[in-house]
């Protein structure tokens, strides 16, 4: 509790109100808990507590073959199974010599950007829900999300737990007509975004609720390893798609929106996500134009058995940098398997952002960080 003193008076006994927000609280996005100390409604101290969903995913993965962990990566950030798959495939592909076919690379980009749309659109919905909007934006978002999930289902058989990527390519090709359907969805998306922006971006209540709340300075954001939209909202131009150019991202023309100021607040985080969706649509359009027929699986062997090596693969997941660190010891099982979950590390600064704000702000700050407990607790 840094530098805080209660007002004490004779004959008046005052103390802080300790509230345990969570693990079942409507807006902690899962089984997350904040131990909050309140002076009135002002947050004086906040300690994040989690681990309720901990299943030691890393330990499980170390006891099974490389491929068998792939479906488990879906369950990390269950909103974005495609990017999780990609990050894991990227790390594993560094362990062996493998060439990924052109079509698979294109499909990976398409899936990943669709995932980004799904995540951002529903995150904005959840965020406004945390602001108290009774779910209207959320349900609009879910309607659009549903269309994209339908596409995922058609491609991979499952809506959320896609398990679609394989080392060296993809599990199966997309069905006939899938690309046309995707183009239809992508072409319609900007119209929806216009409506969404009209509903939210100028609303005075949202503006006054989010601006100046949950300030995160550029220096702290970099030092605390914040990644993704949250980092860019603090004014850092850093996008792994641009920096690493993994996959075939160097072929696409897109821009990375980031804040003009040196301090990011909840409004910046919300707006950066809104703007990023437009860029994702640009990438999707280019990818849908560029994709050609061809094989979707590389020359990977039937058994994945890399030599002794270490690899760290990272992608720009919708929530930030998702990395997989693999240590291979020459067997079919990874010796060490580690997930670098973006929402877990983005929580580092929760306390710094919340202190001095109100309870209602703590909730939206948490919402603007964009956590998924499957990933935080692993």
């Amino acid at each position: 509790m840094p530098n805080y003193e209660l007002i004490q008076q004779d004959g008046l006994e005052t103390s802080l109100l300790e509230v345990s927000m969570g693990p079942h609280h409507p807006s902690t996005h899962g089984v997350f808990r904040m131990d909050v100390k309140l002076d009135g409604e002002t947050v004086v101290d906040l300690k994040p507590v989690f681990g309720y969903l901990h299943r030691n995913h890393e330990k499980l993965a170390e006891a099974m073959s490389y491929l068998a962990s792939m479906p488990f990566t879906d369950r990390l950030d269950y909103f974005n199974s495609m990017t999780n798959n990609w990050a894991y495939a990227l790390a594993a592909e560094q362990l062996i010599e493998i060439e990924i076919p052109e079509r698979a690379e294109y499909l990976r980009v398409i899936m990943s950007e669709l995932t980004r749309l799904v995540n951002h659109v529903s995150l904005v919905g959840f965020f406004v829900n945390d602001l108290g909007a009774l779910g209207t934006p959320l349900l609009y978002a879910f309607r659009e999300r549903e269309k994209i999930l339908d596409l995922f289902e058609q491609a991979s058989g499952a809506r959320m737990m896609c398990n679609y990527f394989r080392f060296g390519g993809l599990r199966c090709d997309v069905p006939e007509g899938w690309l046309d359907r995707t183009r239809e969805v992508v072409d319609r998306f900007p119209k929806f975004l216009d409506e969404y922006e009209k509903l939210l971006c100028e609303n005075e209540i949202i503006l006054s609720r989010t601006q100046g709340v949950g300030n995160l300075s550029k220096e702290l954001a970099i030092n605390a390893g914040i990644t993704g939209p949250m980092l860019r909202a603090s004014g850092v131009n850093y996008d792994i798609r641009k920096v690493d150019n993994y996959g075939i991202y160097d072929r696409f023309k897109f821009r990375v929106p980031y804040s003009k100021g040196k301090v990011g607040d909840c409004y910046d985080r919300f707006m950066v996500r809104m703007l990023e969706m437009r860029e994702s649509i640009e990438i999707l359009k280019q990818a849908l134009d560029g994709i050609e027929a061809g094989p979707i699986m590389g020359n990977a062997g039937k058994v994945f058995k890399p030599a002794k090596a270490e690899a760290y693969g990272r992608v720009e997941a919708p929530k930030g940098e998702l990395g997989f660190y693999l240590v291979a010891d020459g067997t079919t099982q990874p010796y060490r398997y580690r997930v670098r979950p973006p929402s877990f590390i983005n929580l580092t600064v929760l306390q710094d952002m919340c202190i001095g704000q109100q309870v209602a702000d703590a909730v939206i700050i948490l919402g603007s960080i964009d956590i998924v407990l499957g990933e935080v607790d692993r």
């Binding site: 109100l17 509230v19 609280h25 409507p26 807006s27 409604e41 406004v128 829900n129 945390d130 602001l131 108290g132 909007a133 009774l134 779910g135 209207t136 349900l139 609009y140 309607r143 509903l199 971006c201 100028e202 609303n203 005075e204 209540i205 949202i206 503006l207 006054s208 609720r209 601006q211 100046g212 131009n237 996008d239 641009k242 821009r255 990375v256 929106p257 980031y258 804040s259 003009k260 409004y267 910046d268 707006m271 950066v272 703007l275 109100q358 309870v359 209602a360 702000d361 909730v363």
Partner: protein, 389 residues
């Protein structure tokens, strides 16, 4: 015993006790349905006439939903937390319902079966009806805090505290905006206010009346804990606020109380600004007055639902700031403007002058509101972003 009087009272009050609770039941359905449509859902659509197996063709757009909800509420377990104050925990929901029900009597509802001699009990022609209204609705605050405190739950307590602060603050702009009408009419009697607006002479068509109506409506939203001022029960922050620990029938009572309060305050708004029962055809068919009155109330309720489906919630300090720094100065200014406009109109008979007064008053009020808004939210505005390659 004056049996006739008792009969008259019953004739006047029983309809109130029938109409409004049944309107409550209907409103819950309308609200769910409307919110669903706003959110592009369908809403309740299966519960229809009971005892037809699986709804069948008698689902009637889910009109049976309120009845089903009511039955469910009745049979749910009544849970009182350990360590809660059982007496006050029980009293709170009852106390929140009573004042809301009580003030319904002062609405100028002219039922067709009440005329002539019986008209004397028409809505309890109390001379201080408006004052009495505010006095009684103020009791609601007590019930809410009682619930918050008796639940022995930190969220409830926070909700109760919020409710007190909010209701006390918004009482002031509420009363001040009502004062304008009282001032112009020169009476606190609801029936007289209604009469003064007969024949499209509604106060909402006056610039000061419009401003007062808007202020009154916003304050009424806050008074009845409706979105965007539903802070005492903010589900994303403090679970359900003061009724976190309520279940079953007690919860239903709170729910009922809240909706009846909504009707009551909308009824007052209709009385003060929207010409009470006035509307087309009332001269020929006086019983239409009741219909018009209830229709207007329903429209206001509809707007409340619409707002609830659109807006997020304010923060506590912003909520208070809005009341004290925006609504209060504006409503005080409005009193002066109303006075000036009334005198100007009275001194000069003529359309030109009244149009000038009308427009000038509106411009002054809008400019004042704009200025206050600018002062209060100087730093808050949309931003632009840069792009990196």
């Amino acid at each position: 015993m004056n049996w006739e009087l008792i009969g008259d009272i019953l004739l006047a009050t029983v309809p109130l006790l029938v109409i409004f609770p049944s309107m409550f039941a209907l409103t819950t359905w309308v609200e769910r349905k409307a919110l669903a449509r706003i959110q592009n859902r369908i809403g309740p659509n299966k519960v229809g006439v009971p005892l037809t197996p699986y709804g069948g063709n008698l689902s009637l757009f889910g009109l049976g939903q309120p009845a089903a909800d009511g039955i469910k509420m009745l049979f749910k377990e009544n849970i009182v937390p350990t360590g809660a104050d059982r007496l006050f925990h029980l009293l709170a929901p009852i106390l929140s319902l009573i004042p809301a029900m009580l003030v319904l009597c002062f609405l100028p509802l002219e039922f067709p079966w009440l005329n002539g001699e019986q008209n004397s009990v028409k809505a309890f022609m109390l001379d201080g009806a408006v004052i009495f209204f505010f006095a009684i609705t103020g009791l609601n605050t007590l019930a809410v805090f009682m619930a918050g405190w008796a639940s022995r739950n930190k969220y409830s307590l926070l909700g109760g505290m919020r409710a007190i602060a909010q209701m006390v603050s918004y009482e002031i702009p509420l009363v001040l905006s009502a004062v304008v009408v009282v001032m112009i009419v020169g009476s606190l009697n609801a029936a007289e206010i209604a009469e003064a607006q007969a024949g499209w002479n509604w106060y909402v068509f006056q610039p000061w009346g419009l401003a007062a109506f808007v202020i009154f409506f916003i304050a009424a939203l806050a008074e009845t804990n409706r979105s965007p001022f539903d802070l005492p029960e903010a589900e994303s922050e403090i679970i359900a606020g003061y009724f976190t620990e309520y279940s079953g029938f007690k919860f239903a009572l709170f729910f009922l109380g809240e909706y009846i309060a909504m009707f009551a305050i909308s009824g007052l708004a209709v009385t003060l600004f929207l010409g009470a029962g006035g509307g087309p055809g009332v001269e020929a068919l006086p019983w239409l007055k009741v219909i018009w009155f209830l229709a207007k109330v329903c429209i206001l309720i509809g707007v409340m639902i619409w707002l609830r489906g659109t807006l997020p919630r304010l923060r506590v300090d912003q909520l208070m700031g809005f009341a004290w720094k925006f609504l209060l100065p504006l409503s005080i200014l409005n009193i002066f403007i109303a006075g000036f406009a009334w005198h100007a109109k009275k001194a000069n008979e003529g359309t030109a002058v009244s149009v000038i007064v009308w427009v000038a008053a509106l411009i002054i009020l809008y400019a004042a509101a704009k200025g206050l808004d600018h002062v209060n939210r100087a730093k808050v505005k949309p931003r632009t972003y840069q792009y990196g390659e």
